[in-house]
């Protein structure tokens, strides 16, 4: 049944030539790498994320790309050499769950642009239309080594809207941060949030009401696809997004905490023949790790947040390790402009908990939770997520082992361009903080 639906949908897609997920049109992704210099980073412990750590390694950056990584690399003549002896080098961090620019600082009511919670289904909104590139959160998070962000809308309704993938560079227009040729995501939410939102007099009022809302929307999207196949129909922004989920062109990011609710969402995906991409938060994922592994669903979660609401009460600090042990595609996310500044520490905390298990987890696996694995989820692992020859030079030089609480990102490169340099602070201050006392007192 599942296969058949998929085939039908694939055929219908070819016939209509519909394109649900082309991020280039009509709000063009016009990200261009900033001007960069060719450099050789030498002497550091290099952590490529896709290979073992290299003691006293070299990373060569040329034309904004990783040109070479290894222990015995010849330094090209005339290239600028950065001596990183006693330091660590990793790929840039990717935050798979960010609301930067959408829920901005300062959080004036007028700046709460992250969730169009006017109806249970707002699949038609695109979060990129809310993003304010001057949110000071972008620069703070950049100082934490985050080079790529998956911006998601908030979770107070069932269908929250589309996500967008941004390179974390200073820019005036969001289009100039938007990475071309990425797969769109749709954010959905189950559990408490849609119910609490509905307390203001609208449905859903219960968890069964949540499921009704999901099912009706997918039934409508199926009918929409059928109509499209038969001829021209007026474009419906809401159904375009949901139809994109059905055809597999749009991946899903589903906010869901409890194991039973994740299982219910899996059943929903079987009913309508789509594949769930990633459950976010998923504090009870450890209870159904095998099911998640069989379904090939990724989990993006925290290391040790729990108890802040009823559906997070059973959160446990061995969650991340349990998923890794079960072979689940595992990611650590922030959902916070504060946590996002230390995703390396979040990963370290989860690794530390794994010491209570009888199965080791390698430092390489741990680094992947915040680099290569989110890159795979976003379909950009051909371009970033590891220190691999030919990929974008999204690189962080750390003062300490990145799994230390004392680690500071001393230099951050995005496509080879230096965007953070601890020796030249505030070089990329947002317009908002420019001229404020905090920027005036910098030592540059």
């Amino acid at each position: 049944m599942y296969l058949k639906t998929m085939l039908t949908l694939a055929v219908s897609l070819c016939l209509t030539g519909a394109s649900f997920a082309n991020s280039d049109a009509p709000y063009t992704a016009s990200y261009q790498p900033l001007v960069s210099e060719d450099v050789a980073i030498v002497g550091a412990t290099v952590m490529p994320a896709d290979k073992h750590e290299i003691a006293n390694g070299t990373v060569i950056i040329r034309d904004g790309k990783i040109a070479a990584v290894g222990a015995d690399i010849a330094i090209p003549k005339g290239i600028t050499v950065i001596n990183a002896e006693g330091k660590w080098v990793t790929p840039g961090i990717i935050d798979i769950h960010s609301h930067l620019g959408a829920f901005s600082s300062p959080s004036m009511p007028s700046m709460r642009n992250g969730n169009e919670k006017t109806e249970k289904n707002t699949a038609e909104v695109w979060v990129e239309h809310s993003v304010w590139p001057q949110d000071p959160g972008f620069e703070r998070v950049r100082e934490g080594g985050v080079t790529t962000l998956n911006i998601l809308p908030g979770s107070a309704n069932l269908f929250n809207g589309r996500s967008v993938v941004l390179k974390n560079i200073p820019a005036v227009r969001v289009q100039d941060m938007k990475l071309p040729e990425t797969r769109y995501g749709a954010k959905l939410a189950c559990g408490e949030n849609p119910i609490n939102y509905a307390a203001k007099g609208k449905d859903p009022f219960t968890r069964m009401g949540n499921m009704k809302g999901f099912r009706n929307a997918f039934i409508d999207a199926q009918a929409y696809l059928d109509k499209k196949q038969k001829g021209k129909v007026k474009t419906d922004l809401e159904l375009e997004t949901i139809a994109g989920i059905l055809t597999g062109e749009i991946t899903t990011h589903i906010h869901c905490y409890r194991a039973d609710e994740m299982a219910m969402m899996i059943a929903l995906s079987h009913e309508f023949g789509f594949k769930i991409g990633t459950f976010h938060h998923a504090t009870e994922a450890y209870k159904i790790a095998d099911l998640l592994q069989q379904e090939g669903i990724g989990i993006a979660t925290w290391s040790d947040r729990w108890g802040f609401k009823m559906e997070a009460y059973d959160g446990a600090p061995l969650n991340v390790a349990a998923l890794e042990w079960a072979g689940v595609h595992t990611l650590i996310h922030s959902d916070s402009s504060i946590l996002a500044q230390r995703l390396n520490v979040e990963a370290a905390k989860a690794m530390s908990q794994a010491k209570r298990g009888n199965k080791p987890i390698s430092r390489q696996q741990v680094l992947q939770w915040i680099t290569l694995n989110p890159a795979k989820t976003l379909g950009i692992d051909d371009r970033t997520g590891s220190l691999t020859t030919g990929k974008s030079a999204d690189v962080v030089i750390w003062s300490h082992d990145p799994f230390s609480i004392f680690a500071k990102a001393e230099k951050v490169f995005i496509d080879g361009a230096v965007v953070v340099d601890l020796n030249a602070p505030h070089s990329f201050t947002s317009d908002f903080l420019t001229g404020q006392a905090i920027s005036e007192t910098s030592h540059d």
Binding site: A289, F308, L318, A322, Q341, K355, R356, A407
Partner: protein, 422 residues
Amino acid sequence: MTKYISALVLIYGLLLQTAQAESLLLKNARIITASDAGTLSKGDVLITDGIVSRVDTSIKASGEVRVIDYSGQVISPGFINPESALGIREINGGANASESASNDKQITAAYNVADIINPYSVAIPVARRGGVTGAIIAPSSSRDSHYAGQAAWFTTEDSASPESVVPAKAIFWDLKAVSSGRGATFPRLRAELQDAIAYANNGDSAGPFKAKNWSRYDLKALAPVMRGEIPMAFRVNRATDITALIKILADTNIKAILVGAAEGWMVASQIAESGIPVVADPTDNLPSNFDMINAANQNILSMHEAGVKVIIGGPTSAHDAGKIRYFAGIAVGNGLPYDEAIKAISAIPAEVFGLARIGQIKQGMRADIAVWDGDPLEPLSQLTALYIQGKPQSLLTRQDLLEQRYINEAVNVYRKTGTKGE
């Protein structure tokens, strides 16, 4: 099901077993004393009747004493969370899961968390796992008043007794609780303090009062603050609010504490001159509102360098109480000297909140001691044992039990009370 019940019975039995304090000699550990003695690279701690009776590079066991070898491990004081909802907020939301603020207009400053701390909260063992042995349990803002209420000192011990809670260690006040506007807030505060001082001096014969129609509950609660017996903790962030408060408090005997002080670095010398200590969150570095547009990474370091006594806070939620060690680590990453960061979550909060005989590993201090397999501020380190008043504490959490139900690889390292793997 029976399996779980018998497991619970077993845990209870083990809890009871450890109720009596024995003499202990903890040997061969790196000892972070948080006292003037600094850090001993290798040393011993002797505990008698729940009190540290000696700290030295080498102590010979004599008489009836249990010797525990902690070679390669690190001993620190039990940490103190200076502002927490531990025991008063199990979960946000309904069903009586949260009791952290007053809804009674007559009882604001007098709101008393001491009577409502739940020692059976499942968040408490999680806090212990973070090496936290003490916390200031502080009420959150009430809806109608700047006065949040009376905070208590809670000891996180596994066998809670009436002595675990010491009431009225401070009264918390919140600038932004009521949106009357600063231009009204500060004149009113000045008048209220004058009224409260008059009541503290003259009791019921004081009055008529100027600021408002006081409830006697609130005036009584504020009296020890006005006499300088317990501190008043002011939740403020903006630089101008800090200086305004310093001015208002100058004519009083009030022992103030600033909580938040995100823009403290801008007026660090004034704070230092006033002698007012600060509880600051090292993760406050974003302009999340216009009271902290200039929140900065260097805040804590700048205040420390100016001579301000800084306590590290931040993880105020009940579930995050044990994360205080990471917050100290973040402050170190931002330049605060390591020893200062340790003191900022042990000796300094103990001194500022008047928590007698805790916060340092020193002769005569209560033996509230954490043992770690590495640097206690590092996420890669884990707690291996915790002592409160010299008694080994249960480190088992509800989370452990859930993990053991579902995760095959979960090894039961904290199954027994006391030291890990014992």
